[in-house]
Symmetry: C2
Subunit: 267 residues, 2 copies
């Protein structure tokens, strides 16, 4: 292993000081790439909530046991994480699997989705985790999935996911928080109601909307972008820009702050 | 204070052994009554969830920031807790107050309830906390409140609360978990939908149902009773027994186990 080799060399030569610092930096990067410190790198700007956390090889989520969906899914991306390598795997070699770390009563299953008319929509997108087979395979846990309108999933939402990956080409780091929303609607009498379908024996909630909050970092400069999309057919002529919204709108509806440590850290 | 006096006596007399044990037992009871160990006594059989916990003088709750309601509220009751004392206070001397420990975006306010047509329904009932003024006052935090149908609140639900207090007269301990539910309903086309109103600027969710799970203990023998009631007008001729339901129904709908440590502890 590269880290060990380098450290070994330093130890043998007995070199300290500047070289030691360089080695230390390299070692940290290696550890990150190897996944040991990965969860803290992904959650660099804080946890939106601390309930039912699932730490996967390349993303972190909080699970909503009442709706059988994630509350939020967090990814840290860059060009090395999204690009295909010799360790990559094709999507069609992977199958959706139940998350056995969730008690059966609160867990969605493939049967819940069958004949429901909804796609099993990834929150951490499979194609964001190309570099390693395990990373991509982990996105197929059903705890990372919500019932998603097929057209929306395969077109408008897919475009948003592609846009996120395009940001990796000209930024150093891209932090992405993705999740479902259950928004109220005004009825004819002026009263507001939340209405959403539930599917399957486990009553998996069909979100009314999905959101994505994207924080990009380039040489210490940060940019924040927030999107919200309805979970139904979206006319392909509507440009992505139209789904931009304020972070506040998402946070009020979701019931959490997306990057709780952001302000304290970067200002 | 009684504890200090007793301990003082022991110290002065230098008495150990058996008397020391008796004093230690008394001291523990005193501490419980004084509230120092109160949260752990209330949560004796485990926490249903660990998100947004609020520990009050005589109850514990988990707050649902998305719906601006509690997830669950836990009480430990007995005859000494519910009975009026010289420290008691009347209900009409108390006012509902916002819970300032919850960020403004996720907090319900009195304004949200005004002209909504819904009562501010206590989950930990005010009349369960008679013995001390602070105990009863603490039940008036809006984090302990959900929008409740006035007739249901003042009749069927009130009867259930009275029944809980009646259980204190012939049991040693009564553990009560209370909370809101958002249940799906089958539409004409066979699909299932969750629909609930939200009120006020903060979109406080109006639960479709409320539940109460009651664990009584008498000389080491335990009895569990579970109730679920729709949050609308309930015909007064319907007996309380009709609202009994399985604990499983409540737990599946709520998304948590009510007494996670119960089986391990009492079997």
């Amino acid at each position: 292993m590269f880290v060990k080799k380098l450290l070994g060399t330093v130890a043998t030569l007995g070199v300290g000081g500047l070289v030691g610092v360089v080695v230390e930096r390299k070692r940290r990067n290696e550890v990150n790439a190897a996944g040991v410190d990965r969860p803290n790198q992904i959650m660099r700007y804080g946890f939106p909530t601390n309930s039912n956390l699932k730490v996967r090889s390349n993303y972190v989520l909080s699970y909503d046991r009442r709706n059988r969906n994630p509350n939020w899914v967090f990814e840290h991306l860059n060009i090395d994480i999204i690009k295909k390598t010799k360790d990559s795997i094709e999507r069609d070699q992977l199958a959706f699997t139940e998350d056995s770390s969730i008690p059966g009563w609160f867990r969605s299953t493939n049967r819940d989705f069958a004949k429901s008319g909804f796609d099993r929509g990834h929150m951490a997108a499979a194609a964001n985790h190309n570099a390693q087979a395990t990373w991509k395979a982990d996105t197929f846990y059903l705890s990372n999935i919500v019932p998603q309108h097929p057209h929306m999933n395969q077109h408008a939402w897919n475009n948003l996911e592609k846009y996120v990956r395009s940001l990796c080409h000209h930024n150093d780091n891209v932090y992405v928080c993705t999740g479902p929303l259950y928004l109220p609607r005004k009825e004819a009498d002026g009263r507001m109601f939340v209405t959403y379908q539930v599917i399957g024996d486990n009553h998996v909630a069909v979100p009314t909307h999905l959101f994505k909050v994207i924080l990009t970092e380039k040489k210490g400069r940060y940019t924040l972008r927030s999107y919200m999309m309805p979970n139904h057919y979206i006319d392909p002529s509507i440009p992505l820009e139209q789904f931009k919204c304020s972070l506040e709108n998402i946070e009020r509806a979701a019931g959490f702050f997306v990057f709780p440590q952001l302000k304290a850290e970067i200002h």
